[in-house]
Point group: C2
Chain length 424, copies 2
């Protein structure tokens, strides 16, 4: 069975807005064993939308529409689906009463337009929308086509706003589809690696994962990381799980030097988890990352248990004030130097009383270093220092790309530096 | 003239990847007066892709393909476009020589597969790709259709990677299209407002912008901000500019209490600009935003001229250590209190010597306040304090949503607090 998703709405044909529902729908459909073969984005135009619906019905078994179920003249999905299917829309008394009640509860008059939200494709099941006035619809039908006497199609109309579409789909559409499709038991795993090129991950893991043709392996390059996704379907859940686990553990053994997470956790979560189990605390003095390192850790709930905070020391004075970096060191070695990174890490550790201090200094660009020792240092040069009770380790890295990329990669290197330090 | 964009690539039919080129292409096409009426996303399947190409040629004047121009078996855009158009692919000797040279320069053997990258639609112009091996193609042709004896179509093949597609399109396709289309002079403006609901912006500005039917007005809700985009086309650039400027100045007069930027600058840029012209410096002591406030400012190049940095003071001890907040104040009033916000702002200002100090403390959730005075304070409660030479102002805000949203909105309120303070 293959599916097509039609996203209806002129705003998705502007430079400003994009269909995002289809990512959620694709994952849910894949879990049911349905592949998405086409996605079409079409504006609020009855001819365009009806044409797109006809095309979708001709080439996909399951056709999902998102959007265009509101009460305005621009909301045309019901009409287009009815025309393409050749079935009438019937006004539902129950839906009409529900709409009237909804307006009465809010003390606003219901305009005649709104009644069209009670129109239902003949034979369709109504899908209740807890978060909005647009009901969904589900129609499993046998169509008459010239090229095939009897073609089964499943047509699903969904409201556009993600907070309406998602619960409605998960709670009502998934059970209906699952009942119509062969049972399927799925197991999934995600392995994550930082700071390694995708091509190298592929070269090292392909000899393993190609031995598991029944497990779907996807390699994705994220922000300064590579993700390996494994997905297996089988007749029972334990059978699917066994295949994924076997492949996963062989890949983990091969990539043990690079993998930071074997069940999908983020690098921030893994660092906090490792600090937590060792009962350690962390503080940062960051220059070129300008708060990004702290921001990434504090985005995780309860990070305050192990991350104390730190200082964003953009100027020479603040490096001295908050991390006690000697002014002479900065003057003689430059801000972007192993000596300043070391002083930042040791200074912030000592002042905050954290178990671990990390210092980050570098040139994020676009302009180069200040006059003095930093003047001829290249954009993208970053020094990291990790200070613990047993000493301080320094790392020099040279990054490429624009300011955002250099800052993010520097924060990623810093997190990975800590994670590896904690393994020892 | 209407356009359809076909994005080819099975990865865009997974839950992980999305077509993003179409946003860039849509903006560039709109600037030329071309509306995008359909977007189709299709996998690396010759039947699906050829079918999608045929459909696009039947309903759009301009058909743009992105992706599928690589050397592998999965790269099928050339073949599909040729089949749908009914024109042959001809191998270009010049392209073939260029590919051979490219491989030779890198000292890697060219596999026979790669030769297909030299195949060109008969009659097409080759578009040179400076950033990759996949050339683009541009074909302006007259097709023979059963329903219309002679239909003009423009077919454009573009490489998938954005860093290849974007310069190739801007430098080579835009001039070709502009030469085929009526001349058009465009003027644009963007006004930005923070912390105001979209419905209120619309209610206040609709009576004005509806008087300018020749100016296209788009209201967009961004992250804790609203953007008003104006676009006018006219026979001359000054005429288009005059219409946009007139509407824009009337809307600015109406929304003067809310607009922070009248030419599209970000709130961070405006705050830094205002600090710069007044020769002022800023430092932050932030708790619930955890580095996000500093990160947003330091993301702007040269922010270090006016933003000194600051401290992420997640724990009680760090609030005292870096901003001198008296422990007794925290114990008696709680961390999330106007008193602690005030002490953070005043303390960081005094210690760093900045002209302005900002203090941010709040409950970002998901869990509530610590035992003690914060215990019954609601998630989303945030106190901001702004300390200057003339005194300290405190603001209480109550935010809703999840941790990420609360943190971002708190940082937005803090930036807006500073911007408004600088206006006085």
């Amino acid at each position: 069975m293959i599916a097509e998703i039609i996203a209806a709405g002129s705003e998705m044909l502007t430079p400003y807005r994009q269909d995002t529902n289809s990512l959620f729908l694709t994952e849910a459909l894949n879990d049911l064993g349905v592949q998405v073969a086409f996605k079409t984005i079409v504006g609020d135009n009855i001819d365009h939308l009806t044409g797109a619906a006809r095309i979708a019905l001709s080439r996909a078994d399951i056709v999902l529409f998102s959007g265009g179920l509101g009460p305005t003249e621009d909301d045309l999905t019901r009409e287009a689906a009815a025309a393409a299917l050749g079935v009438p829309l019937l006004r539902s008394d129950a839906l009409l009463a529900g709409l009237a009640q909804r307006f009465a509860a809010r003390n606003i008059p219901m305009s005649p337009n709104n009644a069209k939200q009670a129109d239902v494709l003949q034979g369709a099941t109504i899908l209740d929308n807890k978060n909005g006035s647009a009901s969904g619809q589900y129609l499993d039908t046998t169509l008459f086509h010239s090229d095939a006497p009897s073609v089964r199609r499943i047509v699903i109309l969904l409201p556009g706003p993600p907070r309406e579409l998602k619960p409605l789909f998960s709670e009502q559409v998934v059970p209906l589809l699952a009942a119509s499709l062969p049972p399927r038991f799925l197991a999934k795993r995600m392995l994550r690696m930082a700071l390694i090129p995708e091509s190298l991950v592929d070269a090292r893991t392909a000899p393993i994962y190609t031995q598991y043709p029944d497990v779907e392996t996807t390699i994705l390059a994220g922000s300064a990381e590579i993700q390996l996704h494994f997905l297996a379907a089988a007749d029972t859940l334990p059978a699917a799980q066994a295949r994924v686990d076997e492949l996963s553990s062989r890949v983990e053994a091969e990539m043990v030097d690079a993998i930071y997470s074997s069940h999908g956790e983020s690098l921030e979560e893994i660092v906090l988890l490792n600090l937590g189990v060792r009962n350690l605390t962390l503080a940062v003095a960051e220059s070129c990352t300008g708060g990004l390192f702290a921001e990434r850790l504090t985005a995780i709930p309860n990070s305050s248990r192990n991350f104390l905070g730190g200082a964003t020391v953009y100027t020479t004075e603040l490096k001295t004030l908050f991390a006690g970096v000697p002014k002479e060191t900065i003057d003689s070695k430059g801000s972007v130097s192993p000596e300043v990174a070391t002083a930042l890490a040791e200074g912030i550790r000592q002042r905050t009383g954290a178990s671990i201090g990390i210092g980050i200094t570098g040139l994020a660009g676009p302009s180069g270093g200040a006059p003095g020792p930093d003047e001829h240092r290249p954009v993208g040069l970053v020094y990291l220092a990790l200070a613990t009770a047993t000493g301080t380790e320094v790392k020099e890295i040279q990054l490429t790309g624009d300011r955002d990329r250099i800052r993010f990669w520097a924060s990623q290197h810093a997190l990975e530096f800590i994670r590896r330090g904690l393994l020892l």
